[in-house]
């Protein structure tokens, strides 16, 4: 523990291998120093290698970092990792998309020839084969996917980090050591694909499950297709652009709509089969389950009705996040899930997919930001940094110091209130935390009964709405 401070000063990425709880035992002053030094180090190293960061820094006249807020002008708006025109995807200009991504990473992509590529999935495969990167994508509702250029080596570190977190979050050796004592994985999603969840799958199977047959996926053979995810949003945008927009969507892709409708129709049955298999195959064992609360509740409710309870071993772990997605759950949903699953060791996280680290919720309902992620609150109107004082509310921005192949400083769309600057959390962990009332600025603005005549209704493609949930 005693050497963690020095290790983080030397290289913040080293936190991925640390005893996780030690990160919250540094003093406030040590955290501030680790963060200021880390920002200087990362900015100094990455600026010359990442064209877009350099350009933004030049535009904003950011040179030396004297105080932590000096970095704020070069935090990326969430638009930066999707700042390519959608026409690159529509017209299969993956050569241009590669050149664009090259401006966002330290990895040299100039030798990659993507000129003949037609689909996003094929482009991701090409980058997997020919570069050190394992590019992940988001599942944005607009059809425009963000592409995050993280290396394979750092994906491995991300999963190792997750293992250390599970083992040490509630205190040193408080949880199972999955890296050495493998658990079956139960994941209600796709085995393959390019979104962050699936990018971690290979490493989770190797490091947590030990072998492929010790992992259960809802779609064990299928790929979560980036082209299909993007199609949903593109259809909406295209329809709003009139005939011209529709002309620009490849007919081959339009045909995949039907596939999706089929998939959606089968989904309740697929879920049922998946959960039945999970129960019968792994009952009584300690397992690792990932999933959103809503899905887990549906499973628990149905299972309890059929008389099943206490299915898994009491040392199992549950990794969850994603909020409640607007669904109403009963007040005792956690109790019901616990009763059904047979354990209550839940890790609830706040994270953004561009980053390697995350913030886990403590017993007081606070998400604790690890020392290698530098938090900022910005004024939602001016974008200026707000005081680093307990109880302040604003737009959250986070700079993760662990990633080394891209700039992981991002402004989120979330309104949060923070604490831990003057008074630490009653749980005893030191450092900044977020209160659990987190909401999207876009939700806030949409529900205010302000009526204007300008706008264009979106063509809602209900058949595709469920894709977002599947990407978790």
């Amino acid at each position: 523990m005693s050497d963690l401070y020095q290790r983080l000063l030397d290289d913040p990425t080293d936190f991925h291998n640390a005893v996780y709880c030690d990160g919250f035992k540094l003093t406030r002053a040590q955290i501030d120093t680790v963060q200021l030094e880390g920002v200087r180090k990362r900015f100094g190293e990455l600026r010359p290698q990442i064209a877009m960061l350099d350009k933004l820094a030049t535009e904003q006249s950011v040179a030396a970092i004297d105080t932590i807020n000096d970095i704020v002008p070069v935090l990326f708006p969430h638009t930066f990792y999707k700042s390519y025109p959608l026409s690159y995807l529509e017209k299969s200009r993956f050569d241009k998309l590669t050149r664009w991504l090259n401006g966002l990473t330290t990895v040299d992509l100039s030798g990659v020839d993507a000129s003949g590529v037609e689909l996003i999935d094929d482009w991701l495969d090409l980058l997997d084969r020919e570069t050190p990167l394992l590019v992940s994508h988001t599942s944005g509702t607009t059809g425009k996917l963000s592409f995050i250029p993280r290396t394979k080596a750092q994906w491995r570190q991300t999963v190792l980090h997750s293992g250390h977190m599970l083992r040490h979050w509630w205190g040193e050796n408080s949880g199972p050591d999955l890296l050495n004592e493998h658990y079956p994985l139960i994941i209600p999603g796709y085995r393959y694909g390019g979104s962050a969840t699936q990018r971690a799958n290979d490493f989770m199977i190797e490091l947590f499950a030990g072998s492929e047959d010790n992992a259960l996926f809802m779609y064990p053979n299928a790929r979560f297709s980036a082209d299909v995810v993007s199609l949903a949003g593109r259809l909406r945008t295209a329809e709003a652009r009139g005939e011209q927009g529709m002309l620009e969507i490849a007919p081959a892709l339009l045909n995949r709509r039907q596939e999706l409708s089929e998939l959606e129709k089968r989904r309740p049955q697929d879920l049922q089969n998946f959960f039945d298999t999970a129960r019968t195959k792994f009952a009584g064992k300690n397992v690792y389950i990932a999933g959103v609360w809503t899905l887990l509740y549906d499973w628990a409710e149905a299972g309890l009705k059929e008389g099943h309870a206490g299915i898994f071993g009491k040392d199992s772990v549950l990794f969850s996040g994603g909020g409640k997605k607007g669904k109403a759950l009963p007040d005792n949903y956690r109790e019901q899930i616990k009763e059904f699953l047979g354990f209550d060791n839940a890790y609830e996280m706040y994270a953004i997919s561009e980053q390697m680290g995350w913030s886990i919720m403590c017993e007081h309902g606070h998400y604790h930001i690890p020392p290698v992620i530098v938090p900022f609150l910005l004024d939602p109107v001016t974008g200026n940094p707000l005081p680093r004082e307990d109880g302040v509310t604003g737009r959250l921005a986070l700079l993760d110091l662990m990633p080394q192949s891209y700039w992981a400083g991002l402004i989120t769309g979330d309104e949060v209130t923070w604490g831990g600057w003057q008074e630490p959390c009653p749980c005893g962990r030191i450092g900044t935390y977020l209160h659990d009332q987190i909401r999207r600025y876009s939700d806030k603005e949409g529900g205010d009964d302000r009526i204007v005549c300008a706008g264009a209704p979106e063509a809602h493609d209900q058949a595709l709405a469920f894709l977002t949930e599947l990407s978790m």
């Binding site: 999707k82 025109p85 026409s87 652009r241 009139g242 005939e243 011209q244 927009g245 302000r450 300008a454």
Partner: protein, 495 residues
Amino acid sequence: MSNKQYNVPLIIRGQIITDPDFEFGGRRGGVTFHTPDVAKHIGQLTLSAPSKMADLYSLSLDEILDFLADLGQRLRFDSNAHLREAFSLSCVTSGLSESILRYQYENIPFFFSRDEMAMMVERSCGANYLEGWVAQPGGMPGVSARVRAFGSRAVHVIAGNAPIVSILTVIRNAFTRSDCIIKTPSNDPLTATALARTMIDMAPEHPLVKHLSVAYWKGGDTTVERAIYDPRKIEKIIAWGGFDSVKHVTQYLQPGIDLITQDPKLSSTIIGKEAFADDTTLRSVATRLALDVGAQNQEGCVNARVIYVESGTDAAGIERANKLGSLTFDALQKLPPHLSTPHKAFDMNLKSEIDGARMNDDEYRVFGGRTNEGAIIVSQDDAPVDFSRQLGCRVGNIVPLDDLQNAIRSVNAYTQTIGIFPETLKEKLRDQLAFQGAQRLVSLGGAATVQHNMEKQDAIEPVRRMVKWVTEEYADGALFEAIAEANPDIKAVGM
């Protein structure tokens, strides 16, 4: 930040209710306003029996227009306290700057000029139809018909981006002899109220006052809406803008309720190659384009957003488009403050998108967009920016094209106005644009500053739909006897 509190009274047929039952936050500036609980007064809000419309028919159309003209005289911004309060709240809640709002409030009396209102009547229903029964030409032999336009009982869910919406609603309700409940939006809860209060000050017992109510409730409030949107109580709903507000309304639709929507729309521009004839022409085009983008701070559906330009897409063509972008941005900055200013609450999501575009100089040239001054983004290829539907706060996107057919195909039913240069191009394209869905074609520069004909909006005639067209038919009894007896000497056609 203003912490001033406003009272938004509930006005029911001349009665002003001010109980501060609820508090609402306006969208911008931290202002709050108090309103009475509409549910408590719901019984009085709707007109209990259609027969109570009769008092409106004791007035002639001339008397109605006289009343409105008189009202216009009292709507002077310098002396009307109700309007000044509405203005002061709008300065906080509206997307328009104080200088633009002031100009609009000062202009209110213009809309109440008697001549202008008389022409409004002619362009919509025609005075003769509002005043009496008008004989109809043709029809079956032996049968004649007369038609008269009657007022209806309506709820108007109005938009708040400019005071004109409240003004038109009050005038149209009066001259169609209708009974209206105006549901105000949170971004302008007081302008319609100010008009109603001025009417009450004038003549509290006047029939036009007795058929005007103004209420704020939160859109989607089922207690209120379920009680009001009932075919026994109202016949029409006129909903302006706001996708959500229209969605709320649709759940109450059933036979007996006619929904008239002025849907949310976006507008665009088509500029032909003639713009690049010489520098003087290009400057003129840029100035006119700046007006279409920037007037009323691009808060309206009529404002230009995506601008298709027949500049060509080769290097020289892109340079031409960039030149137009640069000149347009300069012209935008020079617009007079009563028409356009830097936006006081620039959309931060849009700002993020502009920042992203600026980083990608292979694809976009961005003029401006540093803070709240507005921007012209020139695509360096023939596609609009992906965030084109978010454009606002004086941000336009110039899209260079080789062939204007791309622009024409991009028009759809959400396209309201298209500003076109030159005039010959407008004539050449107008039929084709109409097929695609465009609703108003104007000379470049005329999208957002002048409007000839509000009676034909979004390609519908809202006033003609607000009234009930009642037919009275006549035929001689002998005709019916002949039909009943199948008399071969008298032929009844068409049945």
